[in-house]
Amino acid sequence: MTTAAEAHDHHGPPPIHYSSRVTPAVLGMFLFIGSEIMLFGSFFTVYFFDRIVNHSFGGQWPPPGYHRPAFVAGVNTLILITSSFTMHWADSSIKKGNRAGMQAGLMLTVLLGLTFLLTQVVEYHRLGFNTSNTSFAATFFGLTGLHACHVFVGLAILAVMTTRAFRGHFSPEHHHGIEIGGIYWHFVDVMWIVVYVTVYLL
């Protein structure tokens, strides 16, 4: 019961009322992802602007002399997509009380994410161009590099989640850390699919 007397005795803001809507923690992650989408959007805008207005190469894209490693990046894409499956496995496992499944899922996700990142670093060294060559090179490194930064952050979050998982944290009732970190990791995955298709294939 909420009465006038209780309201006057209460100090500070009123109690939080969640109803059945999204919780503040998940909402916070969505707002963060929203800002990230805008950040990526600005990089994509530069990329498409460069691609559309750049007529000096006779409409050829990428410019002559540049090779996009679509196959290696494709394999890397499969690795990252697989990591989304393992992430989902970890989340589903803890919801069912399967701690071993959660731990294995998180470990695999970290390993797949690391593999993706290392493969990209190796690929950067083999590209044969760098950011100062042309605007294509700059936007290529800008977009893929921005994504790589996000994978790095995602790996840091996953490392914390995995450590906590092995220290006995999380349960079927309390697994917000897995849920929110998982949402971020899936965002990184979705963004890579967009980057891969846009920068490497089309």
Binding site: M1, T2, T3, A4, A7, P13, P14, H17, S19, S20, R21, V22, P24, V26, L27, F30, I81, S84, M87, H88, D91, S92, I178, E179, I180, G182, I183, H186, F187, D189, V190, I193, V194, V197, L201, L202
Partner: protein, 213 residues
Amino acid sequence: MKSPVRSEADAFRFVLMTIGYFALIVIGYFIDHWLGLAVFVVLTAGVAWFVLGRRGEQEKPVRQAPAPSPPEQHRILVVANETVGGGELLGTIRGRAEGRNAVVLVVCPALNSPLRHWASDEDDARTAAQERLDRSLEGMRAAGLEADGEIGDGDPIQAIEDAIRTFRPDELVVSTHPEGRSHWLERGVVDKARERFALPLTHVVVDLDVHRS
């Protein structure tokens, strides 16, 4: 409005849909550049249609029968906000409660702007609703009614749904401003509540301008 992505599982499904979406575009693109563009346009339009259609679908009423209340009590759920102190509402509640062992729960939805709602800035809205509720409860108790109250979700339908789960009412009373001045009527709140909840519903119109004059 409910967020379509509310959990890791939803986000994972979004990953799968993204894969399908871009796979079709890429296949189309490699067959013919213009086909790729056409696939992109068609898929994007399809997604937009699905999302908009789904929003409409979510708002479709789902009949929800409440669990029966104890037979000796008649439980009345009242949903009102700015009109919660109106004389018409008090009269209707007294009429519904007359001759019965009635228990009244008044729910005041904390009306808020969408921006403030999404920013979780509900303090002012809840405080204002609480003040109206307190005044209303005093009036009801003074009239001899056994009344209790709580602040509900900003969405009145959601507030009713929440209260039904905990209060198990036998009937519902919804109070609004008159037609033309009521946002709730404009949004079809009363009709939606009638269709969605398997409860007798009384709609009370309170004209606060008449009270003031």
